[in-house]
């Protein structure tokens, strides 16, 4: 009787697992299709315009060579500089902020955290016009968009403290205290004890900080308006999609899309283990 029930449960389990896997495979294929499509288009050399088929008739590197000969290099470099600088500064600021809020008790700490939480709920778009004015007054628009965009990305980064603070909260305070008795300064406690233990969250912070500016379009377009040398890849490539350009640049645009995705994909594949740990870390670490 018992064995029969056991068998029944096992079959049920197998059926539900199979269903879930089939569903996931279908979703993955749907999700992957645009990527495969773009990769295939980027190798199509028989025409530069949109066509009614997916597999190229003629394959070649011409679109990538076109990219190399265009402004794309500049845009790519701009984006890379912005994303890298943002990743470095945001990570430093955000981790210091999180450590402070997790470990120090000071007056108005609670209200400050709540204030930042509420402030963070307003869409960033609301600040666009005034930020543009400020950047414009500082001379950080158009050709100088790169430092301007770095400034904008980094400026409010301390407000994104929640995830890493949550993670730091799970690291026992007695470790800090033991290290302080052992002779460590607060800074040494942070980088010798806390950060090595919070590796997943550090990597999570770096990745998210890098990804933001890497894929930024709206603000970058606004700040660099009309000046190609200040564009990032998203804005630059968008300029190829205008009615008069698209016929010439469509496949080059697809090649650009592939190149943009490459570093992020590599970064993600290398660090995905930590990324998942980081996202779930605060919740499950005892």
């Amino acid at each position: 009787m018992n064995e029969k029930r056991h068998m029944g449960l096992r079959t049920l389990n197998r059926i539900s697992n199979t269903t879930i896997y089939i569903l996931l495979i279908i979703i993955s294929i749907i999700w992957l299709l645009p990527f495969i499509f773009i990769v295939l288009q980027s190798f199509r050399v028989e025409s530069t315009y949109q066509v009614g088929y997916v597999i190229p008739h003629e394959w070649g590197w011409q679109n990538y060579i076109n990219l190399w000969n265009s402004d794309f290099k500049r845009w790519y470099l701009n984006t890379f500089i912005i994303a890298l600088a943002a990743a470095v500064f945001i990570t430093i600021i955000q981790l210091c902020m999180s450590y402070t809020l997790s470990r120090f008790r000071f007056k108005l700490r609670g209200p400050l955290m709540r204030f930042m939480l509420i402030l963070g709920m307003f869409p960033g778009m609301l600040t666009m016009i005034i930020l543009y004015r400020v950047l414009s007054d500082l001379g950080l628009t158009q050709a100088n968009a790169v430092p301007g965009l770095i400034l904008v990305s980094v400026a409010s980064s301390g407000m994104g403290y929640y995830v890493s603070k949550g993670f730091f909260d799970t690291i026992p305070k007695s470790l800090d205290e033991a290290a302080r008795v052992d002779g460590a300064t607060r800074f040494q406690v942070l980088y010798k004890i806390i950060l090595p233990l919070a590796k997943p969250i550090v990597i999570y912070t770096i990745l998210t900080a890098f990804m933001g500016p890497w894929g930024d379009f709206v603000f970058a377009r606004y700040v660099a308006f009309g000046t190609s040398s200040g564009y990032n890849v998203a804005v630059g490539m968008y300029s190829w999609l205008t009615n008069d350009q698209i016929a010439r640049m469509y496949t080059t645009f697809c090649a650009g899309g592939v190149i943009v995705a490459v570093p992020v994909t590599i970064l993600f594949l290398c660090l995905q283990k930590y990324y998942v740990e980081g996202v779930t870390g605060g919740a499950v670490k005892g």
Binding site: R105, P172, S174, L175, E177, A178, A179, R180, V181, D182, G183, A184, Q188, I193, P196, L197
Partner: protein, 373 residues
């Protein structure tokens, strides 16, 4: 090696809660002092103020004659062992112990020598390359002690270091701490909520309650002459029986009259009552379970009925109810009873007990203070 002096030390939290009130204590060089008390009595807070991990709201802490109120923990010449070990999980045992030395930029060969020496003393040489998570509780605690040892500090602070261990390991580590103390020959301040640890380890015990010091004394002093009811009940296991009764004075001799019996106060206690000229009055009488004996009956005897008999091996703990429903605990060495006597002692059995007159404690019902202090 150093003395530690606390003068009027107070801890007031932001929400105005006072955790420690006017704490005055002089800890001598090489002394082993134990702070003991129930949860929330302020013992750990006091230790953490000495360590520099909590701000001192009022008063001063001196280590070796120097006021250390505003010094960082690292500059106070202290080492500390934490209740949860606080080992750095990402470092090996070796690196854990070497951490403080490396921060001081001690040459690596000296670090090696010190770490291996400490490991040898603590018997953890085989685990030096392991990570803390691969160690048992007892081994982790040893690493924590090793980490404190290599600092060559003046004062050794221990915050409930044995609380996370199981009973057997706790006894073993307690003995090891005594040996360690002999080897290190330095000043120890030890916090625990376990009165057995306090009694066995301390040269002096500081018993605390609600942020106040209740009594400071040697283990013998606090056991034999508790200054108040709290100390009397806190020290000793099972705890002291407290009975509300009257103290009588007849023909120059003191008597107590618990549960209708009339028991003379004998020996030194009787003499001390006379010396203090204590007047007949209502009192709280304290009698330790080991100072209650089974009796045959008579004027001294209190009739009662057995509720629970706990067999502890070398002794029996009898929980008995008197006629008015008061519960007393009696501790009888097993060796004092023959097998017939032992088999009689089942729940519901009626028996007579009496108190030993020379081992009683007398407390004022109002102030709860010992009448002989």
């Amino acid at each position: 090696m150093a003395s530690v002096k606390l003068t009027g030390v107070k801890k007031i939290y932001d929400n105005k809660v006072v955790a420690v009130h006017d704490f005055d204590l002089d800890i001598h060089d090489k002394e082993f002092v134990v702070f003991v008390g129930p949860s929330g009595c302020g013992k750990s807070t006091t230790l953490r103020m000495i360590a520099g991990l909590e701000d001192i709201s009022e008063g001063t802490v001196e280590i070796d004659g120097e006021v250390v109120n505003d010094l960082q923990p690292k500059d106070r010449g202290i080492a500390m062992v934490f209740q949860n070990y606080a080992l750095y999980p990402h470092m090996s045992v070796y690196d854990n112990i070497a951490f403080s030395l490396r921060l001081k930029k001690v040459p690596e060969d000296v670090v090696y020598e010190k770490v291996t020496n400490a490991a040898e003393v603590l018997g953890i040489t085989d685990y030096l390359m392991r990570k803390p998570r691969a160690l048992s509780g007892g081994q982790r605690q040893r690493v924590a002690i090793g980490r404190a040892m290599v600092r060559d500090s003046k004062v050794f602070l221990m915050d409930e270091p044995l609380s996370n261990l199981d009973a057997k390991l706790r006894n073993q580590m307690r003995a090891e701490i005594i040996l360690l103390r002999q080897k290190l020959d330095t000043t120890f301040i030890y916090v625990t909520h376990d009165q057995t640890e306090a009694m066995t380890l301390g040269d002096r015990i500081v018993i605390m309650k609600d942020g106040f010091i209740m009594q400071v004394g040697t283990p013998t002093e606090v056991f034999e002459m508790p200054h108040n009811l709290f100390v009397a009940e806190f020290i000793g296991a099972p705890k002291m029986n407290i009975v509300k009764t009257n103290l009588l004075l007849e023909n120059g001799k003191y008597y107590v009259t618990p549960f209708g019996a009339k028991i003379p106060v004998e020996g030194e206690k009787g003499r001390m009552l006379a010396e203090k000229n204590v007047q007949p009055q209502e009192i709280l009488l304290g009698v330790r379970p080991e100072h209650i004996v089974l009796s045959e009956g008579g004027e001294h005897a209190i009739p009662c009925s057995l509720v629970v008999n706990e067999m502890m091996g070398s002794e029996l703990h009898l929980h008995v109810d008197t006629a008015d429903g008061s519960r007393l605990i009696v501790r009888i060495p097993t060796i004092d009873l023959d097998s017939a006597g032992r088999s009689e002692l089942v729940a519901g059995h009626d028996l007579h007990i009496t108190f030993e007159g020379k081992a009683m404690h007398f407390f004022d019902p109002g102030t709860e203070k010992n009448l002989l202090v």
